[in-house]
Point group: C2
Chain length 451, copies 2
């Protein structure tokens, strides 16, 4: 193939950063390989809708091969990068031996961060993968089932208490969606409990929700959440989490909240590639392991290696690093495509500059907050902008028309058709995830009928 003699670009990660880099380089005279552990691109901004039974996993996932089918210069490789050899310019892989590169883009994102309390993780799962989402979905809907079964009032209350740790966009979205489930979607479904009795508690360490937003939008978001029936606890630091409760410190006092369903939306840390890059290139990492990138998104002293998306700490614009959101990753990907094209023509490009088109967070149906810089909105209009913005991104993929129809349907019926409790029966859902998985194994592995 003639491509063999073209410069080799390897992209690690098929999220917004990696995928959009490949997309933007469709016509480039490069031999591109995009590596991901999964066979699909995940539209993470809507993951909370899978976790809360609105959408199905496939609705927000598109096969990478399908998206890149028409890209003759691009190969999709299902594999995991284990190391980078900058001397011989190779990425060491798990299944394949290795792959050579002339240019390397690393866009492997972030995962949950429990601030040194990894033992909390089985009791308070975070939301990053499709499996996280179906696991959280299982826990939420199982909790109502368990409450329906429970005779002890105290225990029933614990099953009907949902605590979400972290008041950023994901925490706000989850809290709002669970409130809508409890106070709307499940109405009339139970005989012994009233789902309306459920308590949804959103816990945030600082003094307001949605910290990156202007204070008046934070206040509006809080008001919207409270209208939906969410208890917002600010200035509350989580000090302990078990399978039965969580403990928060509020100023001088501590209190324990009995809750069977605890979700983690409080922090992220860089994926392993951050450390690997630090070791192989000597690049500096920030406090959560993200890679400090140069103004052109390259790694210091390695002009052939770039880091973009959530994994990159870009400190050259404003007084804070750029936020870990899809628009930043996409713009960085598009910048790199331009940069590489210019490079081949012997030209250069000014440093990357993020064009902030605004911040969006949804609280519930008809309720969102939008900060477009020149205008700040909340309520129904903000929600319409949120819907429009997400559809705008989604339509770039295959059959995401389905999402719109599903939304339309849910909007008018307030139903949650995708509220499947899968992977395990409802009976023992809290506890160690490995134990859950062995139940899962016996479910799919044994010869059992429905009953």
């Amino acid at each position: 193939m003639s491509q063999q003699s073209q410069p080799k670009l390897v992209i690690i990660g098929g999220g917004f950063g990696g995928l959009y880099a490949a997309k933007a380089l469709k016509k480039a005279t490069l031999d591109i390989t995009i590596i991901d552990k999964r066979n699909f691109h995940l539209f993470q901004p809507l993951l909370y809708q899978v976790a809360t039974g609105v959408l199905s996993p496939a609705d927000i996932s598109s096969p990478l091969r399908l998206i890149l089918r028409g890209h003759e210069n691009t190969t999709v490789l299902l594999d995991e990068a284990l190391d980078i050899d900058t001397g011989s310019k190779r990425v060491i892989l798990k299944d394949h031996e290795s792959i050579d590169y002339d240019y390397l883009i690393v866009a492997t994102g972030v995962s949950h961060h429990y601030f040194g309390n990894d033992q909390w993780q089985p009791h308070a799962p975070g939301l990053k993968t499709i499996e996280d989402a179906t696991e959280i979905r299982r826990r939420i809907f199982s909790a109502f089932e368990e409450a329906e079964k429970e005779n002890d009032p105290g225990k029933r209350e614990a099953w009907l208490t949902f605590a979400i740790v972290g008041g950023g966009p994901t925490g706000v979205e989850l809290a709002g969606a669970i409130a809508e489930i409890a106070h709307g979607a499940l109405k009339g479904d139970f005989r012994r409990i009233d789902p309306d009795d459920a308590r949804i508690i959103l816990i945030e360490g600082i003094d307001r929700v949605l910290p990156p937003y202007p204070t008046n939008l934070s206040a509006k978001a809080k008001a919207s959440l409270e209208k939906l029936g969410v208890t917002v606890e600010t200035k509350s630091i989580v000090t302990h989490i078990t399978g039965e409760s969580l403990t928060v410190r509020q100023g001088e006092s501590q209190k324990e909240i009995k809750a069977k369903t605890i979700l983690w939306a409080a922090g992220v840390k860089a994926s392993k590639m951050g450390e690997i890059l630090a070791k192989s290139t000597g690049v500096a990492l920030d406090r959560v392991g993200r890679v400090m990138v140069e103004p052109d998104l390259s790694v210091k002293d390695h002009p052939d290696i770039f880091v973009i998306g959530d994994l990159a700490h870009f400190a050259h614009q404003g007084d804070k690093p750029l936020p870990g959101i899809a628009p930043v990753a996409v713009q960085q990907a598009q910048y790199l495509a331009k940069l590489l094209n210019r490079k081949f023509q012997g030209e250069s490009l000014p440093p990357f500059k993020y064009n902030d088109r605004g911040n969006l967070a949804v609280i519930g149906q008809n309720a969102a907050v939008v900060d477009l810089g020149f205008v700040k909105l909340s309520g129904f209009l903000a929600w319409l902008i949120w819907v429009w913005a997400h559809i705008y991104y989604l339509i770039e993929f295959d059959n995401k028309l389905i999402v719109m129809i599903q939304w339309g349907w849910n909007y008018f019926t307030k139903g949650r058709g995708a509220r499947l409790i899968t992977g395990e029966t409802a009976s023992a859902h809290i506890g160690n995830l490995s134990a859950d998985a062995s139940i899962y194994a016996s479910k799919s592995g044994e010869l059992i009928g429905k009953s």
Copy 2:
């Protein structure tokens, strides 16, 4: 509640039999409890479409509570029946202690049957649950990924060989769908393999596929399968299955087929409730553990206990028992509703009679076989009837409009948007299911990023 003094009907199983019994008894003066281990009714006839990446689990699942929300006389209980005490008229439960009944309907269906070779099961999963379907989906799409990675031509061929054991409707549907994936949906998606090279082998013990159908329809089904690129091996008895191959006996000769993906569609056995009923009532079971029911679907000497659906062996019509298909279960459920209503008025009802409206099996897009008794059809017209019949059933549920739109989309694009490889990475997908599940656990349990 006034219901406390009404006769108590307990229904075990939320499949077609149990659910339709509850539906038909909406206005009955009964205190009805429907017990299922899962929180949703599964539209099993379309499960193969989840297994082959056309539909999402939620598309063919409806929450039982949602379907029965308007039924004031009905309680949905998520639990598992462990035993029946006919003396005190109680069903012993796993989570709740027990539940009293005046009338009992058992409709817990069937599971896979490996004819004494349960060790084959991890290598050749069957298709009964949502988890089965996503596991099979993972195996099918992972196989193409593994083939793309494989350098050894022999091993690559084994990854591209799909063997389906059993030429009944499920086997035919799976084989047809996999052929469409290999020869259509994945076209252009890979760089090193051509999915078109895949071999799909359908293995049937007797001399034709679709044994319950007239011979000329079997022949037409075989021709349609072969047109799709399926190799149909009849008079072939499977004698051995490993993670690498299966061995079949054809007359005097044996042959080994190297295949990494083997699916089981060859046999079913009754769910555990069959045995439990035999022990508690003394009722006779058939060879595969199904309950021999009386002409009115009751259990001998227990006029208050009924068995319907796949678990029932109804031998009072024709020379074979009624087939284990949804229409039989639904008609039996509707018969029982009528019977119970008559009983309360001191009247009786003639024995159950199945009104056979025909048999349908789909082979692929535009190809199906239909036996309506008075007319036998194959090809496009048969396929239209199949689509119509399934939509007719589906529209009784909530938002199954989505299924139709998804079908329409797939029809024109030949895409497989739901081809997610979830639960595990593609790298080690064959082998013991417990081992797979522990990988699953570490995936959802560990702090890993995308890469």
